[in-house]
Symmetry: C2
Subunit: 554 residues, 2 copies
């Protein structure tokens, strides 16, 4: 029987990272990777772009081949080998070669489970149609490409999460008609509603049909395609991509009697140890923690997989190493519009009964006069008392990842908006505005926390002005040509420089709600200050302005 | 006599920001801005791009016109008015209209000096030639454009700092022959040498001639141009741009008896107060602090100006507000190559006798398979004992601003590399690699701090292998085709998978220095581990690999 110092089960992100890191720590260990797949170390996150022909060469998706792992890292790689069982007492795994059906037994000193996660396929009638695909592996992507052929057709993407949106964009790139069907009332559930609506508006502008609140009831092969019957009507498709979620592959761990954690993961400590001290787990099959709450969490992301694998490899080779966990950071891009999040969003803060305040602040992503400058919005959520940053969402056509990453560091370090307001960020016209968008967002949050600014988000504002009880004023203080370009339906225009002579026209609203709207909120804040000064008591600035208003303008 | 609650002297970044912020705090204050310029609130940082025709419309450079300040902000703006003196006792300023020569006197309750800085014009013979320009104001840029005319010619840029490099790029864009003359041994003095050399290499590749260590001795009008005589020979120019530095315009403050700070600035506290409690200063004319050392510093940057102005405006209107200072963050881009810095660099850490360690770590700026992916290098400097981050420099063709901004937050918060190694940064293929470049750089620093990695920077390595005492080995462990593309001159190739059979060939170097070089340092680290394991005692990985080797490859 072959005996290994380390056996890794699973060969994608966490598996290969853990094996390679172990090799660097222990040049003389015998290390093996066992995987049932054909490929190892492939970039699962790149699969939507492979389908969209953005990545044209299948080989580009592969980070390390079995050959590289053998040659450079001296690691034995068994592809197309399935692990049948683990004998924890004897420290052995029983393995089957899925080509030859030959059975093998290997001994281990340390074992690392990196078995990943699988796409969910709920028992909906007709779900076994060969036209219905999930997208987790290169093999899945190959099948989708084969199913698509060279002509274009109609695709239904079930699930409006991150992968669903990326797949929708890429199918559209290939010239397909695309419909996204989402069961929840909004796409991209990890975002606050207005951000999901902005992304939806953008997808629709680019020709993707979005149907929210629609539950798939059945699939039916029909006329050479599939009919997708939903609670909101039926949709015809030549191909269906199912991206409604994934579940951790914890069966092997569970069968071996290892303790399970949240969401069906294999439970690990911060060092990646399972309930068996000689067995570690990392990546999509394993639990982790929320850095901010300390609670157990599941973060099936390539980025988390690599960090967990590194900590586990260090620990199992003798250098105790903790990975404290995640902030729930995510980012998605479609047709140039991006949205990112870290920490908690406003809805989550509210659901958790945190004493939190949120504010949305638009900005240019670089000097307004520098070519390629685009608008972004930063939505911060902070503790109402201390100003500690709890979460951030960024969205828009510009570079949303940069401010988000800065805030991710801030949240990790327990920073307040007061700390971050002063950070000396890199400034030159090709990179930023002189007032950095993150500094600016913190300034506005400071104003809101100190009571110098009252503001309202677009979802709440839209509810309010469409309520039968609405008796307030929607005021646009911009110059007439700006107002004519487009404003929130129902807004009355009084340019700010005419306030001294014309505020009398709206004096009846002194004790009613006045919502002030401009392009981005800056002019509205100028108007806000003057209105307060003139005795208007319930003024609110519309956050995000017309530019980030997720509904129709007029 | 007109009496104002606030008079602001100077109307560019700090001046207009302070006035506008004061307006939002005090809707009923009388506020004036007095400036000797024609323009207010212009983007000085955009001037090089205006010359390069990247910004085609002069109006784009103007953030706020005097008209906007009057209409929207109700601020009196006096352009072409020069302040002759300040009477601190009587709280008045004496002003001259530079068009009519009319003299005026204004009273103030609070005064804010935002008089900026001026380009240095040292008394070099011939410096008054009309073909020698500085570049600080829109008027300067107008003069340069007029001097350039529509034809192209030869330009000499004196000074290889940030502005000099930006101007060189933009003149080249316009089809001019450009020579940059720098007195110091390297361009971009705020960077470590290898980074300056990489930028120099890139500029030269794009046709800009760079002459370092050359002192300008005289200018002489000759044959319709200027001859620039230097310690390294003479250069002919049709136009000369002088960008050798600036000095704060603190004359008015000095004449009024205000205390001066470092570098000839007007000394202010963190709230922007000068030694006179009714006089504030902000922007390029004022001092500030280093966040990390607490020492007084000068940061003549548009970004700092805005932050100082905001703190001063809040404080002078009754809300005490501190701006703690700067990290010395800077960023520059030319022909697609960017370099950024924050905190201290390796040279500064060494000069300050800090117990610091530096390491350079290359990375992709997004998934290697995603279109547009580019290489960047992150050079971290950290405390050798605690791992506290002291500084960061990033450079390359990719997005260097994002990692830098994240590190700027980290340094501000006193974070260690161990803290930042785990930060949950945004990951999706269009935005990052699965192992984020900042996480990766921290991992490598952790390896270096713990003694698991010994490495050497390219400048030190180059010195060492060119020393007459060099008796070590330069080893390239890549596969033959990779080695053939280019390596550091003198490197011997033994592919890593041949180590088991071929290390005997180099056994003589077991107690000598072995420098291992590959593309980026990753393969070299694999080789390092094996070499150490086989008894090579003095192995070092070449940081940055061939990709960031600032000298010639062979």
């Amino acid at each position: 029987m072959q005996k290994y110092d380390l056996i890794v089960i699973g060969g994608v992100a966490a598996g290969t990272k853990a094996a390679a890191k172990t090799r660097r720590e222990k040049p003389d260990w015998k290390i093996a990777i066992i995987t049932r797949d054909d490929d190892v170390s492939y970039a699962g996150c790149g699969l939507p772009y492979f389908i969209g022909d953005i990545i044209q060469n299948r080989g580009q998706l592969v980070v390390r081949t079995p050959e590289t792992l053998r040659l450079v890292h001296s690691i034995d790689v068994f592809t197309r080998h399935s692990v049948l069982s683990i004998d924890r007492e004897k420290h052995t795994v029983s393995v089957q070669n899925t080509n030859s059906n030959e059975k093998l037994e290997f001994g281990y000193r340390k074992l690392l489970l990196a078995t990943g996660a699988s796409a969910m396929r709920p028992p909906i009638p007709g779900i076994d149609s060969e036209r219905i695909h999930t997208i987790r592996s290169v093999t899945d992507a190959d099948a989708i490409l084969a199913g698509m052929g060279s002509k274009s057709g109609r695709a239904v993407v079930v699930g409006g999460g991150f992968i669903g949106i990326e797949v929708a964009e890429n199918l559209k790139h290939r010239g397909w008609e695309v419909t996204v069907i989402e069961m929840l009332p909004q796409i991209l559930p990890p975002f606050d509603l207005e951000i999901a609506l902005m992304m939806q508006k953008h997808l629709e502008k680019n020709g993707v049909r979005i149907v929210t609140g629609a539950c798939v009831q059945s699939f039916c092969d029909k006329d050479g395609g599939v009919e997708v019957a939903t609670s909101n009507g039926a949709f015809q498709a030549d191909i269906v991509i199912l991206s409604i979620g994934i579940k951790p592959n914890s069966g092997l761990g569970c069968d071996s009697g290892l303790e399970l954690g949240c969401r069906g993961t294999i439970r690990v400590d911060a060092c990646g140890r399972t309930s068996d001290p000689d067995i570690f787990a990392a990546g999509d099959c394993a639990s982790t923690f929320s850095v901010t709450s300390g609670n157990e969490a599941w973060s099936p992301m390539g980025s988390t997989a690599n960090k967990q694998a590194r900590a586990a490899a260090l620990t199992l080779t003798g250098t105790e190493s903790e990975f404290p966990g995640v902030l729930g950071t995510m980012i998605v891009k479609a047709f140039g519009f991006s949205a990112a999040r870290t920490g908690v969003n406003e809805r989550e803060a509210c659901e958790s009964k945190m004493n939190a305040v949120s504010v949305t602040v638009p900005s240019d992503d670089r000097a307004h006069y520098y070519p390629g400058s685009e608008k972004i919005a930063i939505k911060l959520t902070a503790d109402a008392e201390t100003g500690e940053l709890l979460g951030c969402q960024t969205y828009g056509m510009g570079a949303v990842d940069k401010p988000l990453d800065a805030i991710a560091v801030a949240i990790t370090m327990g920073a307040t908006v007061h700390d971050v307001a002063h950070v000396d960020f890199a400034y030159a016209p090709p990179f930023s505005t002189a007032i950095n968008p993150v500094n600016l967002a913190c300034y506005v949050m400071q104003n809101k926390l100190s009571g110098k600014l009252e503001s309202i988000g677009p979802v709440e504002a839209n509810c309010m002005i469409h309520s039968p009880d609405w008796d307030g004023l929607l005021l646009d203080p911009r110059e007439i040509p700006e107002f004519m370009i487009g404003t929130v339906p129902g807004a009355v225009n009084i340019p700010i420089h005419e306030f001294p002579t014309r505020l009398a026209e709206v004096a009846a609203f002194k004790d009613k709600t006045v919502i002030v709207v401009c392009n981005y909120g800056k002019r509205a804040f100028e108007a806000y200050v003057r209105l307060k000064h003139h005795g208007f008591n319930r003024v609110k600035v519309l956050e995000g302005g017309t530019k980030f208003w997720p509904y129709e303008l007029e």
